[in-house]
Structures are given as structure tokens and as C-alpha cells.
Amino acid sequence: MYGVGTGAWNGVIFAPRDTPPHADSSALPVHTYALLLRHHWQSFYRHVVRPRWWLGFAVVPLLLYIAATLVGAGYFADRFLEFLSIDTTALALLNDYLLGLLVGLLGARFFFQRPPRLRMTPYLHLPLPRTSLVAYFQWSSLVSLHNILPLLFLVPFWLQHVRPVVPIGGAVVWGLGVLACLALSHLGTLAFRLLLDRRLRVAGALLILLAVTQIIDQWIGAGWTSVASAQLFNSLAAGNGLLLGILGVLIGSLALLTTQGLHSALRSSRHVQRRPSLWSRLVRFRSGLVHNLVVLELKMMLRTKRPKQYAYVSVVLAVLYTGLLLSDYNVIRGPLMDAFLGLFASGAFALNYGQLMFAWESRHFDGLLSRDLSPQQLVLAKLMVLQLSCLAMFLICLPFFWWLAPRLLTLHVAFLFYNVGVTSVLMLTLAVRNQKRVSTSEGHFFNYQGFSLWHWLWLLPTVAPPAALLVGFGSTPATAITLVAALGLFNMLLAWPWAHLLGRQLTQRRYIMAAGFRTAED
């Protein structure tokens, strides 16, 4: 019997010894699954476990702690309620909030779950049946922490607080219903990701609709999510098989939709030839090297997938967050929230896009290094892009401050100076440390290619100074806002020295960066 693959990948994909070099794609799916499973394990073991065995000492106890906490919370839920003096049963309380929790899980999945399509890329040129590939990666993506962690809570909860208190039929239907909702949350995320990839505006409209619904729900105090949650899970606990059937149909439909979407995404990606848009044509190269480097960055933003999505998402998120945080819906107020709001409103783009600068150019970094471009000019051009983006974001978010919270207008202006002067420089300081290759043709969502621990930690020195000022001068906010603006203004005056300093760092790190950018995309 013929296997799949040539066995030439240093044992990465194994095949029986009699595998012909032209193995066809009609191999039994089970063989493909077995090969992929083996590769999956090898990939996990070689990339995660081996090089970072020392990390296990920190991560394993942490994971065990989280697992024990979830299991304990599920098993002893009634004692927690007793301790907190909440006069209701554990099941009734969970039924009220479970839908909200699952919707909240969508957000976590949105930001942290890697899409199956990215995992599939290395296999697409091999003679493996695509149907099996899609099916394998689609369903293997279910084995993620986002599904395992909820189960650690839900299984002991079911054993202790569902099975003993409702008839066995109801308990089973409730259990299956909760599993179905978890799967729906998973598939819903995949579907939303596909939508974002292909119909950005529709996805944006859906997000806005969801946000508006939530705001109205909170505003009028209807608690629609809670009511729907209670009705759904109480009905399931009562043994409503019809509801379970509906959930099953929904799962089937979403699975079909995402599978088809994944199939067509594989067919349509990459080789579509696009013509330069009018906007990107209008941005021309002229005399002036820094100007031309700025134009080069703008053309990249307009013409390559991931940078373009970063730009769009920065604007959408800044608008959404600013609108939500300034509305009455937001009950969390205070200097820390003001710092976050100010920083994000005009600095969202710089914070998002700026952190991967230079890595965006990993495909042609060698070309930039070998040409007559000084590092200072490269840095200065990028600094100008970030600074201009802060001004643009400031103007986009200005109407929200104007209409929803005029008292915070001065804060918005102060943070414009801070983001232009400080945030832009800090992001470039981080950017000259980038050394992981980034593919600009892949989608941005759930894609963490190019990121390291530094990218997550770097937010601290960016947020800390204004937050400390706003908290420290809590009784005299005007003083704090003036100091934030002054700090930004002072640093704006130092733009040229900063460009020189960062240019020198770029010169020192050019070999490490170029070597990293030259390595294959993971």
C-alpha cells in the first residue's frame, strides 16, 4: 500500500519505504491523518518542548495551578456561593451567565487562537488530498486551551451540580448542549475570521452591531444576554431535545460554512493579480529620500495584506473603544482608564503597526541594506509615518471626545503630543529589535508571526509614564495632563537626535536582523 509523501524531509513526514515519488492524492484519508498527526506532534515537540525545556519549570506548575483552580471551582461551586452569600443554586447562577461567558470566550479566541489555514500552508504543495487536510486542521483546532480549560470547569460542575439535581435525561441534554455551545463558539470564531479575511466591511458592520446592541442592552438595563442564557440552559436542563437538535443543526451549518470557506480560501489565495489602486498610484516617488521612504511605507500599507489589515483594524478598534469607553456604558472611570483611553485614541496605529516595523520589510531588507540609504534616513521616515498616523487618529477620534466627553478634550490633545513624541519613538526602539521574518501576504487576525515576549512587555514602558502622572496627580488632573503634554512636546523636539540614536542601533543590529529576516517564515 502506498503512503503519502516522499520521506525526504528528514523524517518530518514519514512514508512507507515503497512510496513512489509521484504518490497520488487518492491515498486513504486515514493515512493522511496519521501522517499529519505525527507531524503535528513532532512540530510541537521540536519547536516548543526541546528548545525551551527550562520553560517547563515555570509553565507546567502554572498550568497545573490553573487546571486545579478550574476543577476546584467547578466541583465546589456551591461552597463558593455559600462563602459569597449568594442565595441561589450553582446551576441557576451558571445558566444565567453561561451564554455571556461563551460570547466573552469569542474575544479570547479572536486574539489568541491560531487559524487552521496558517498551519496548513506547508502542506499545500504536497500530494495530500485537500479535503483531508482541511478536515484534519479544522477539527484538530478543537484541541486548544480555549476548549480544554472550560471543560476542566464544566465536567466537575456537571458531576457535582447538574447530574444530582436534575433528572438524568435533562442532565445529559444540558451537558451536550453546553458542549454544543462551546463548539459553536469555536466554529463561530473560525467563521468570523473568514469573514474578516474576505469581507472586512461586513465583519466591521457585525462588530459595530454587536457593540451597539450591548450598549443599548446596558443602557436600558434589559439584560438580554442573561435572559437568553437562562432560557436556553434552563430549557436544556429540563430535557428539551428540540433545542439540542437546533444547536446540532447550527453546528453542522457552521462547520460546513467554515470548511467551504477554508477550501475556497486555499484556492483563491496568493495568485490573484491585483492592480495598483488609484490611491496607491497617487502616492508618488519624488525627489527627497525621506519622502520616498515614507511613500514606500504607505504603498506597503495600501498594497500588502497584513499591514493593510493592521491599518484598518487600528482605526476600527480605536473608534469602537473610544466610543464605548466615552459612553455611559463604561462604568470604569479613573485616571488609569483615562491614560488607556488617551493613549489608544491617537496612538492605536502607532502601537499596533509600529511594533513590527522593519519586520514588515523582511522580504526586501537585504535590498534596503545594500543600497545607498543611511539608517538614520530609514528611521526618520518610519518615525514620520508613526507621527503622522497619531495626528490622523487624533482627528478621527476627535468627534467622539467633542460630543461624548468634552471634558476629556484636553486629555486627547495632551496624548496627541505624548504619542507623537514618546510612543512613536518607543515603538521604533522596539522595532529595531525585530528579527523574526514576517509574511505580509498572510492575514493579520490570529497571526502572531513576528511577535516575541518583548512585544507584549513593551506596552509597560509606554503606558507607565502617563499612567503614573495621571494617578500621581489625581487631585489636580490639569497638572497631570499638562505634564503628559510637556513630556510629549519635549520628546518631539528630540526627534532628530532620536533618529540618529536609533539609526546607530539599526546599524549595530543590521546583521542579526537581516539573518533573522532571511530565515523561513514559520
Partner: protein, 256 residues
Amino acid sequence: MTVSTNGLVKRYGAFTLSLPDLHIDAGQSVGLVGNNGAGKTTFLRLLLDLIAPDEGHVCIGGHAVDTDTTWKSFTGSYLDDSFLVDFLTPDEFIAFVGSVYRLSPDEQAERLAPFQSFYTDEPLGRTTKYLRDLSQGNRKKVGIIAAMFIQPRVLVLDEPFANLDPRSQLQLMRLLRQAQATHGTTLLISSHDLGHVTDVCERIAVIEDGSLARDEPTTEDTLEALEQYFAEELRVGMDAAPHNKNAAQPVAERRA
């Protein structure tokens, strides 16, 4: 403009590239040949300051490339696709490179004229295709044009003939000879195509296992001598099949 090495050593694990005293005179054309992994591209990357030497320096015009960037203003190069900005159209890319070398649009147009017949599939003027959407051969042509139209004093090309159609290969040979004759360009060309490289270059350097195995002027017999050299290497390699005890021994060592 001269190109020279001064005690140059670059190590990658067990592999060591060592070219302690290579010297290329101004206006000379040198072909680098050798097997895959011999160190040709590593040397070109060292020459263009894309990787750091472990010891010594590469100098262009007497300036060490890793400490002085003067060489960039008169050196044109194309090693691979990483020298192209793939989200630009060919005309935009050429305009960008021209602006880097401070060429006005008129100067750019004038200098592009000799390349019009080399790049025939798409007009060199306003185009609508991105570089990433072009064929491998056309991408290479754009990269070579971008390296040559600035009229560099030193031109560095890696595998320039690969992926080109026969007509374009002949045109490229003519363009390279013209550049050398008209502008006194020093040429450094790495290639596996022994026929073309011996046609264009007046000196051939063979790199093997990281060191210079042969370095001699091109004569009428060079092509045949090179073919014999690599045929001999193949024979030695086949003799050193798994049953042969000398299989792990470097080829140069075995030949000695």
C-alpha cells in the same frame, strides 16, 4: 574600483569560508564558480555587508565595507528576490532605486534606454503589475536593470543567467560587456553557467569548500578545463559512495 579581501573568514558551524587575499583590479570582470554550498553567495553577502565577517574585511575601493558605507553609492547589486520591493510595480521600483541614487527622472529615462530591448514583456514605463505577480525571469530582469541602470563602478550579481530565456541571456552578456567597456565597471558574477560566465568574465575563480581552489585568467581553454574539473569532482564523488571509506573526506583533500 578595486575589490579585495583582507584576512576574510566567515564560519557557519563546521563550514568555514576563508578568502584571505583575493584582489580584483578596477574594471576587471571576475566569475565566481563552484558547487552549491561552496561559499559563493556567502562571499557576495560579505561583500555587500549583509553578514558580518568573523575575521578580516572585504574592501571596495580600499574601504572596508563593514565600517564605511561609501561603497554603497557606486555599487550595484542583485543577489535574489530580497533585492526587490515586491509590492511595487517595475516602474515604481526603478523610480525608487533611481531616487536613492539621486537620479532625476530625465536621467533615469536616459539610463534606462539601453535596457528597453532587454525587458520586452512589459513596458518599462507605467505598468500595472506588481513585481510579486511577475514571472521569475521578469523579476530577475527588473532586479538586474535596477542594479545596472545606476551605472555602478562595481556590479555584483548572483546567478544572473538563471531563469532567463536564451535571448535575454545573450542580451545580458552584451549589456555586461558594455558596462565594463563604457563605465569601467568592476564585475563580480557568481554563476553555475560555465559557458556564459567564461564568455563574459576575463578571470574565473573557483570556490570549493569555502576556499579558493582555482583563480586564473580566462582563455580559450578555460571552459573545457572547468568542465573537466567538475567532471573529475563528480567522478571522485561517485567513487566515494557510501561503501567508500573516504566518503566524508572533503573533495579537495581527496584530490590532493
